[in-house]
């Protein structure tokens, strides 16, 4: 484990900060728009920033706002949030396999910062991940999310509309930038990503599953099917 880190030129925390810069940029338009929407929904500045500090989950926070303005009760909003975030269970379980030996309290601390984006960046990193790396990565993502939520509220405006529209591609482009190099290396990864993209499309359009369930089921199905087929074929790369 130590040699992995000794081999890198940068300290893990700085490595994490650098990897997190892309997420920080990608979160900016979404967090600004969240702050603005929270204001029009009638939340106070303190409530808006508190939600970003405590929850730190973009899609859930947006849905909470739209449910609030539809007059939905608190319990139902919390339940919806839970369903939407079950997918993080899968992500944490996967990251746990890749995590180096850190104290449990440190893992519990960085677990708070696991989002679709921080997970994807950490999971695609070569070798193991340790707490310092995760803290650097999450500091950037979390900082951007919280600060830009506040700015969006205070400024009462998002980015100029055309820039806001163009930047809505940012996080998807980041996911693509993380996935494509892996796709080029291994046929297995093409199957994993392709099947789960297909299953998620079927879940979304044919079964009208909620985003939370659709992603969880598509991911699990694809990960299990590919693993099973590889085992049957007898060419497991373990």
């Amino acid at each position: 484990m130590e040699t992995t880190w000794a081999a890198g030129k940068m300290a893990p925390f700085r490595q994490g900060v650098q990897a997190g810069a892309t997420i920080a940029i990608g979160y900016m338009p979404i967090a600004l728009a969240f702050g603005l929407l929270a204001k029009t929904t009638g939340l106070t500045f303190a409530e808006t920033v508190l939600m970003s500090i405590v929850v730190f989950a973009g899609a859930s926070q947006y849905i909470a706002l739209s449910l609030l303005s539809a007059g939905t009760g608190v319990f139902e909003i919390v339940l919806t949030t839970f369903v939407l975030n079950i997918r993080h269970f899968l992500m944490s379980a996967s990251l746990n396999e890749k995590a180096g030996p850190d104290a449990l309290w440190k893992k519990a601390l960085y677990a708070f910062g696991i989002t679709d984006e921080t997970f994807s960046v950490a999971a695609m990193k070569e070798g193991t991940i340790n707490a310092s790396y995760m803290f650097g990565l999450i500091a950037m993502a979390y900082g951007s999310w919280v600060v830009n939520s506040g700015i969006g509220y205070a400024a009462g405006a998002g980015l100029p509309e055309s820039l806001q529209e163009s930047m809505s591609i940012a996080l998807y482009a980041m996911f693509i930038g993380l996935l494509v190099p892996a796709l080029k290396k291994q046929r297995k990864i093409v199957w994993l990503a392709g099947l789960s993209a297909l299953f998620n499309s079927i879940g979304t359009f044919a079964f009208h599953l909620s985003k939370g369930w659709s992603i969880v089921l598509a991911t699990l199905l694809s990960a299990i099917i590919v693993q099973w087929l590889m085992k049957e074929g007898g060419n497991d790369d373990e």
């Binding site: 106070t44 939600m51 405590v54 930038g177 998620n200 990960a223 085992k231």
Partner: protein, 101 residues
């Protein structure tokens, strides 16, 4: 602050943190069967596939927005650009496109 909203935020915080935390607590010292270790190693690639498709195509009402952004990102990533360049290229492509529509 409105106390109902604060309770809602606390509740949302708890149900968001638990799924993020529990696997580290439950699987901490556990050696899973190799099949399930393999499945968990597959998860990141499968997650990325599902996070990208189909949502990327629906970022704006105008479907060509998502298609152009997707194509720009895939091409630059395929050519070996790092993630930050891929993001900037996709945003630039869409900025350029929105100048013409």
């Amino acid at each position: 602050m409105n106390s109902a909203i604060v309770w809602m935020i606390i509740g949302m915080g708890i149900v968001t943190y638990l799924p993020r935390l529990l696997p580290f607590l439950l699987l901490g010292g556990v050696e899973l069967p190799s099949f399930w270790q393999g499945v968990l190693k597959n998860v990141p690639y499968a997650v990325l596939g599902a996070l990208i498709i189909p949502d990327v195509f629906f970022i704006q009402d105008d479907l060509s927005f998502g298609v152009i952004g997707f194509a720009a990102a895939v091409i630059t990533a395929w050519l070996g650009a790092n993630v930050m360049i891929v993001v900037l290229a996709a945003v630039a492509a869409l900025s350029l496109y929105s100048l013409f529509v």
